[in-house]
C-alpha cells in the first residue's frame, strides 16, 4: 500500500512554504486546499512554484502541474477520473474539468 498518509513524511521532499494545502501522494497531480486559497496565492513544491489561479474552497482540489485533456487525474496515488479539459497548474479541479470513468 504505497499511500503516504502523513504530511510529516513529506517534509524531507517537499517544501511547505504555504501551509494551506495537502499533497497526499508523490504521484498526485492534484492537491487539497486545507483552508480557502485565494487567487494569486502561491505554494512552493519541490518541483517549483504553483500560483493559485482562482479561489479554492477548503477541501477542494487544485492542479499542481499542467494537465492535458484526457489525462488521468491522480489523488491518493490512484486514478480518480479523466480530465475533460486542459488544466493549468493552480486551477480548481472539480465537475467542470474532471469526470468519473466509472
Amino acid at each position: 500500500m504505497p499511500l503516504v498518509n502523513s504530511r510529516i513524511k513529506y517534509t524531507t521532499d517537499m517544501d511547505f512554504i504555504n501551509e494551506g494545502f495537502f499533497l497526499i501522494h508523490k504521484k498526485d497531480n492534484v492537491a487539497i486546499a486545507l483552508n480557502t486559497l485565494k487567487k494569486n496565492d502561491f505554494i512552493n513544491l519541490q518541483t517549483g512554484r504553483v500560483i493559485i489561479q482562482q479561489d479554492i474552497q477548503m477541501g477542494h482540489k487544485f492542479a499542481v502541474k499542467d494537465i492535458n485533456e484526457g489525462d488521468k487525474i491522480i489523488k491518493y496515488g490512484y486514478f480518480i477520473g479523466i480530465a475533460t479539459d486542459s488544466i493549468t497548474a493552480g486551477m480548481h479541479v472539480h465537475f467542470h474539468n474532471l469526470k468519473s470513468d466509472y
Binding site: 499511500l3 510529516i8 497526499i24 477541501g59 480518480i80 474532471l98 470513468d101 466509472y102
Partner: protein, 395 residues
C-alpha cells in the same frame, strides 16, 4: 496494556459488555417494551426491536444473532401475539445459548399496563443471573472490530480513515477479526480490493458484490454520492470510494460475508450489505445505524466510526468509537467525538499517532471505559427488511 476481562458465554465467546435487551418483535409491542426499559433508567438495560409484522428471514436471522451476541447477557422478548416473527423459536435459541430469556405476550397478559408490569418483573427476574456471569481474561485474538463511515468529508480519506486502516492492520496482526463494509462505497476500488484477496475465489466475490452494488444503486437512481460530498470538494465516485477504502488498511482480505454471518477464522472481511435478487428492498442501508447493527450481528464487539460532518450516534449492544476527520467539526462537537484525527492536518500528529490513540482507546473500552456516545446514552438500533441468497461460502 490493561488486561481485558471479558464476560464468558456458554459457547466460549467473550463479551465486553453485559447488557439486558428488551426486544419488541413488532411495532405494536414497542410502547410496552419502551415503558419496561424506562422503568429502570439503566444503561445496561437496552431497548431494541423490529417494526415489521410480515415475516423476513434476514430480519429473523439478524435478531437471533443480536439476542445471542457476546455483549448480551439476557433478553426479555415482547410480542403482541399475532405478528409473524417466530417468538417461540427465537426464545428457544436464546435459552439454548445459555442466556436467561423471558417471553412476554401482550395479548395473553391483559393488555398494555399489565404487560408493562409483567415485563418489569421479568427483567428483575433475569438480572441476578445476568450479573453473576463469569469474567475471564480476554485477549486481542478474541476481539471482533467493525468500521463504518458516516457524514464523510474530503478530509476523512486523509486523516480518520487511514488511521482506522492502520489500527485494523495492527489488530489483524494480533489475531483479531476485522470487518469493513459497504460495497456501494467501494465502487471503483474493486481492483485494489481484489488484489488484496487471499485467493482467486475471494477476488471474484469482491468483484461480484461491487458490481451488484453498482447495479443496485443505478436502479435505485441514487448512489452513495451526496450533495454534501460535492460541496466538500469530492468530484467522482472513484475519489469518494478511495477515501472510504483506506479504512480497510492494507492486510489481505480473507473473505466476503453477509450481515449476520460469523467468520469462523481470523482475518479481515468485507461485508456485503446490498440485497441479492431484484431491486425491491429500498436503499441497502437506510442510515448509519442499520449498517452498525449489521456489523454487530456478525459479532462485532466494538465499532470504529469515522465522521467528518459530525455524527452523534452510538448503538445498542456494542460501543461505538467516533473518530473525527477535521478539527473544525471536532471543536464544535467535542462532547460527541472520541478522537480528533483533524490534528493530522496541522502536523501536530500523524496517522501513526492516531492509530496509537485508537489502539489504546479500543483496549480501554474493552476494559469497560464508556465511549462518548455510551456516556450520552445513545443506544440506536435499526433493522429493516432485506433478502440475501443464503451464502454457500463459509470462512
Amino acid at each position: 496494556m490493561k488486561q481485558i476481562q471479558g464476560y464468558l458465554r456458554e459457547d466460549g465467546t467473550k463479551g465486553i459488555r453485559n447488557v439486558i435487551l428488551v426486544v419488541y418483535l413488532v411495532e405494536c409491542a414497542h410502547h410496552v417494551a419502551r415503558k419496561i426499559v424506562d422503568n429502570f433508567d439503566d444503561p445496561n438495560i437496552q431497548l431494541i426491536g423490529f417494526s415489521g409484522c410480515a415475516p423476513n428471514n434476514y430480519a429473523s436471522e439478524i435478531m437471533k444473532n443480536i439476542c445471542t451476541h457476546s455483549n448480551v447477557g439476557g433478553v426479555v422478548l415482547v410480542s403482541l401475539g399475532c405478528e409473524n416473527m417466530d417468538r417461540n423459536g427465537l426464545h428457544d435459541e436464546i435459552i439454548k445459548s445459555g442466556r436467561p430469556a423471558e417471553l412476554l405476550v401482550i395479548q395473553e397478559n391483559k393488555g398494555t399496563s399489565n404487560s408493562i408490569l409483567q415485563g418489569i418483573e421479568f427483567v428483575k427476574a433475569i438480572q441476578p443471573e445476568v450479573e453473576k456471569v463469569k469474567k475471564v481474561e480476554m485477549h486481542s485474538d478474541e476481539i471482533i472490530l467493525g468500521t463504518i463511515c458516516g457524514g464523510s468529508d474530503s478530509f476523512s480519506g486523509i486523516t480518520a480513515n487511514p488511521s482506522i486502516g492502520k489500527a485494523f492492520d495492527y489488530f489483524l496482526k494480533q489475531g483479531s477479526i476485522c470487518i469493513f463494509e459497504e460495497p456501494g462505497e467501494l465502487i471503483g476500488c474493486e481492483n485494489l480490493l481484489a488484489e488484496r484477496a487471499i485467493n482467486n475465489e475471494v477476488a471474484k466475490q469482491i468483484e461480484r458484490i461491487i458490481k451488484k452494488a453498482d447495479n443496485y444503486y443505478k436502479q435505485m437512481g441514487k448512489d452513495s454520492f451526496s450533495e454534501g460530498n460535492a460541496t466538500g470538494g469530492i468530484t467522482t465516485i472513484e475519489e469518494k470510494s478511495l477515501g472510504s477504502y483506506f479504512k480497510s488498511g492494507s492486510s489481505k482480505i480473507n473473505g466476503v460475508i453477509q450481515p449476520g454471518e460469523m467468520p469462523c477464522h481470523k482475518g479481515l472481511y468485507l461485508m456485503d450489505v446490498v440485497p441479492d435478487g431484484d431491486v425491491k428492498w429500498g436503499f441497502p442501508n437506510i442510515n448509519d445505524n442499520a449498517e452498525i447493527i449489521e456489523l454487530i450481528s456478525s459479532g462485532c464487539h466494538l465499532i470504529l466510526f469515522s465522521t467528518g460532518r459530525g455524527s452523534v450516534v452510538g448503538s445498542a449492544i456494542s460501543p461505538v468509537i467516533k473518530i473525527c476527520s477535521n478539527e473544525i467539526t471536532y471543536n464544535k462537537m467535542e462532547e460527541d467525538m472520541d478522537l480528533n484525527a483533524g490534528k493530522i492536518l496541522n502536523q501536530e500528529s500523524s496517522t501513526d499517532d492516531l492509530c496509537e490513540e485508537i489502539k489504546e482507546l479500543v483496549y480501554n473500552v474493552c476494559c469497560g471505559e464508556r465511549t462518548k456516545s455510551e456516556a450520552l446514552r445513545h443506544q440506536e438500533f435499526v433493522l429493516s427488511y432485506k433478502y440475501f441468497n443464503k451464502s454457500d461460502c463459509k470462512y
